[in-house]
């Protein structure tokens, strides 16, 4: 006798496999949902194939918190204005010019229309969070964070009649003669089945959840990386598409990576694992040696480079050490600091060579100079005569108790992805595929060659998710369109 769940599953399975969907959306995060909603509003029958179970739906979007948005005057919770050129310049700075200007400007310009669209589809915003005042002009924060946004979109999609299947891992996208026919999908670990569609939107994220792939790109060091977001972005669909000859963009070693609390879980630690103490600290590697200017810039701006810095250290680990006078200058950490009344005691607790740490800190302390300390701005309080120099906030580490945090590289998402055009269409060997679009992290490498700009991932996902949904709807309803372009 079939159990109720099993019977239900079989019914669901036959419901989704015995029809041709207008638009198949692969993935269940922000970009996928934006695409599904747009296509459903255009009158399409849409199915979302989300690889994660319902409790973990939404990919990395569930960990996000804001949306970087151009605006020519105050807009919703955003103050003042943030114009296209300033936005684009900010992007140029972090990517060192490694971006596609046309796509980047398209994302930036469209972001302004997206915010009201998001509100109209259930997303609610809140003023920038305490501790993030610097983003109040440029980034609109989601009330409740990304999971609340994801919930709102799933509710909107449900109201529009979009079919959502969880634990649905797409294994293969069937493309014949430049045209998508169907996907092979494993639902809840069952035997693969075939879901047919007239158009497809690929929005299944990067490959950072596949540690083996990361290790192939990075070398064995990658096995020590922590993955800040969902474990379900394993790049299965990305790899399938690349294997079939889809054009790719981006470098497999490029990703958004930051230095996070070394005690964070391997996956899904999210925002709370960030550590903001670095600028007020001395950072040493496992040999007790300093390796980079801890005070190079205000932390949010430098946040993204420390992932790579720590990744380059032995065993991919580093230790940030502060003393009592700096203990409340940064956002609280999720795990309590290691604490000791002596530097040696702290070093021992953290498994560091105590004598070497003492020498490093003594040398650093001796290089500190008198001057005014301003924790919230570049204060120019720099060391003299120590390598590497600390160029701001350099105060001697002398006042017990001493506190220490371990740091590890935390990968947010990888940049190797599918190359798309301004209509989010995927190409294969230079030819546009007839009915295949991509949005979100799976194509973000088209715009983010390297570096990262806070809140820009959600901008790319929303802008290209909506475009992909609209285009896929057109593609599905007009039927076969030639490879004319």
């Amino acid at each position: 006798m079939l159990g109720r769940t099993a019977r239900r599953r079989r019914e669901t399975l036959s419901e989704i496999t015995n029809k041709v969907w207008d638009v198949v959306v692969v993935g269940g995060g922000n970009a996928a949902l934006c695409a599904a909603i747009e296509a459903a509003e255009a009158g399409c029958r849409v199915i979302i194939l989300e690889g994660a179970p319902k409790t973990y739906r939404g990919g990395n979007s569930r960990h996000t918190r804001n949306f970087r948005c151009m605006h020519q005057g105050p807009l919703s919770v955003l103050t003042d204005s943030y114009e296209e050129d300033e936005y684009f310049n900010d992007l140029l700075l972090v990517t060192k010019g490694n971006t596609d200007e046309d796509l980047a400007r398209l994302a930036i310009r469209t972001s302004e229309d997206c915010l009201p669209w998001m509100e109209a589809h259930g997303v609610r915003f809140q003023p920038s969070l305490s501790g993030t005042l610097s983003l109040g002009r440029t980034n609109a924060f989601f009330l409740g964070g990304g999971k609340a946004l994801v919930n709102a979109y799933y509710n909107t999609a449900a109201d529009l009649g979009v079919e959502v299947v969880y634990e649905a891992q797409v294994k293969h996208v069937e493309i014949e003669g430049g045209r998508f026919q169907a996907v092979d999908v494993e639902i809840a670990g069952a035997a693969p089945c075939r879901v047919e569609g007239r158009a497809i939107v690929l929005a299944s994220g990067g490959f950072q959840g596949d540690i083996d792939w990361l290790a192939r790109a990075w070398g064995p060091a990658a096995r020590n990386f922590l993955i800040r977001g969902t474990p379900y972005n394993r790049g299965v669909v990305l790899k399938d598409m690349l294997d079939q000859g889809a054009d790719s963009v981006g470098d497999p070693t490029q990703c958004h990576a930051v230095a996070i609390d070394g005690r964070a879980p391997k996956f899904d630690g999210g925002i709370v694992t960030r550590l903001d103490c670095v600028p007020f600290s001395v950072v040493v590697n496992k040999d007790g040696e300093r390796f980079y200017d801890e005070g190079e810039d205000v932390w949010p701006k430098r946040y993204a480079i420390w992932g790579r810095l720590v990744a380059a250290q032995p065993d991919q680990v580093a230790y940030s050490i502060i003393d009592a006078k700096s203990s409340t200058l940064f956002m609280p950490s999720v795990f309590p600091a290691v604490q000791s009344d002596t530097l040696e005691g702290l070093a021992e607790q953290m498994g560091l060579p105590a004598a070497r740490v003492r020498e490093t800190v003594d040398a650093f302390n001796a290089a500190c100079r008198e001057g005014d300390f301003h924790p919230t701005e570049l204060d120019g309080l720099a060391t003299e005569g120590v390598e590497p120099q600390k160029t701001n906030w350099a105060r001697p580490i002398t006042e017990p108790p001493f506190y220490g945090y371990s740091l590890r590289p935390g990968v947010t998402f990888t940049y190797l992805g599918l190359k798309v055009d301004e209509t989010a269409r995927v190409t294969m060997e230079g030819q546009k595929l007839e009915n295949v679009w991509a949005a979100g992290e799976i194509m973000a490498g088209s715009i983010l060659g390297e570096g990262y700009l806070a809140g820009f991932g959600m901008t790319i996902g929303t802008v290209f998710g909506r475009i992909a949904g609209q285009e896929a709807a057109k593609g599905a309803t007009r039927g076969v369109n030639s490879n004319a372009a």
Partner: protein, 368 residues
């Protein structure tokens, strides 16, 4: 209490580890590193004002929480995530535990908070007491209700039944104020607290326009409106009784009162709001996720809200039955419910209103 700000745990002198408080503290420290929920209610801005949380801070946050559940559905760290955040539940349990701790005399609090059966038994005892009083002490004269139970007898029963619980609540609130480190109260603090309470601002969800209760992660104001109905219904009923007392003593205008008298003009809408709002709350309660509150208290809360509804409903029935043969039955029924309600106030869900108001006053102090 000296707190170590970097290790974020009370440095010393915490009394014997209280697991509910500790669990709430564990979760709040995670929330303080995240802060995504700042816009929902007053709890999260209050969290961000501190780095370390003493037991009294947890008590304050627990009583400030209105259980709107917005933070739960928005949380990226709910189970099966290893951080296992369920803040509405953690705070509900710490809150209930604090009410039991502050209750005076304390032994009465546990059973009535946790057990619907205990409340039902209390109600039956209350009803029986009133029926007995109506039978055994039947007055010789008197008009209307007073033909069944004399005015003197009502006063003899209800004055202590009203004042003693108030005294008990006062003792509890004083202990609360001490534990949360409350300062002298100013008019501005009171005003802020009463405005928040009057609007149930903390059930508004901020920009989300509602809370998450009967429809999972969808926001609605249904629970907020029902709670408003109960709260204002109760206040109107209370004002009705108060106005009648004043009319009796100051103006020598004893009951019964006509339809266009103050007690009736306040009492009828009050009774309707209380009865219907209470029933609505009870129905909502069956639809909400049990595990986002204090599951052990569900029965006590349900019985309490039904008792409130019954109190209002029996009062309306009594008025509707004026002059009929049903009055001798309905009067003890209604008065018995009122008596039970009064006596249980310090030891049941009803007490939440007092502590929540205190928490709002304290929050206003901490904001200023």
């Amino acid at each position: 209490m000296p707190l170590d700000h970097a290790t974020q745990t009370p440095a010393s002198d915490t009394p014997a580890a209280d697991t509910l408080t500790d669990e709430a503290r564990r979760q709040i420290e995670i929330c303080n590193a995240c802060r995504y929920c700042e816009g929902y209610c007053s709890v999260f801005p209050a969290i961000t004002r501190q780095r370390a949380f003493a037991d009294g801070d947890i008590t304050q946050l627990a009583n400030l929480c209105h259980n709107c559940r917005g933070c739960y559905y928005a949380c990226q760290y709910t189970e099966p995530h290893e951080f296992a955040i369920n803040l509405p539940k953690a705070l509900a349990e710490a809150r209930a535990e604090s009410w039991e701790r502050f209750a005076w005399p304390g032994f009465l609090a546990g059973p009535f908070h946790r057990s619907g059966v205990a409340i039902a038994v209390a109600l039956i005892v209350g009803l029986a007491a009133l029926f007995w009083a109506a039978q055994a002490l039947k007055p010789d004269g008197g008009e209307g209700f007073y033909a069944i139970l004399s005015h003197t007898m009502m006063i003899t029963i209800f004055t202590p039944a009203f004042l003693l619980p108030l005294l008990a609540i006062f003792v509890g609130l004083r202990a609360y104020w001490k534990e949360v480190g409350g300062e002298p109260v100013s008019l501005a603090h009171l005003k802020a607290a009463f405005v928040d309470a009057a609007k149930l601002k903390n059930l508004s969800g901020g920009a989300a326009e509602g809370c998450n209760f009967e429809k999972g992660d969808r926001f609605t104001n249904v629970r907020r409106w029902h709670h408003q109905a109960v709260m204002y219904g109760f206040l109107l009923c209370f004002a009705s009784t108060g106005s009648a007392t004043l009319m009796h003593y100051l103006f020598d205008m004893p009951a019964p009162y006509g339809l266009f008298s103050l007690p009736k003009l306040l009492g009828i809408p009050g009774g309707l709001l209380l009865t219907l709002g209470g029933l609505g709350m009870a129905v909502l309660k069956t639809r909400g996720e049990k595990d986002l509150g204090a599951p052990a208290l569900w029965g006590g809360e349900m019985a309490f809200v039904l008792l409130l509804s019954f109190t209002g409903g029996s009062g309306l029935a009594l008025y509707a039955a004026t002059g009929t043969a049903a009055v001798p039955v309905l009067l003890p029924l209604h008065l018995g419910a009122v008596l039970t309600f009064f006596l249980l106030t310090p030891y049941s869900k009803m007490v939440h209103g007092f502590f929540r108001l205190a928490a709002l006053v304290r929050d206003a102090q901490q904001k200023s």
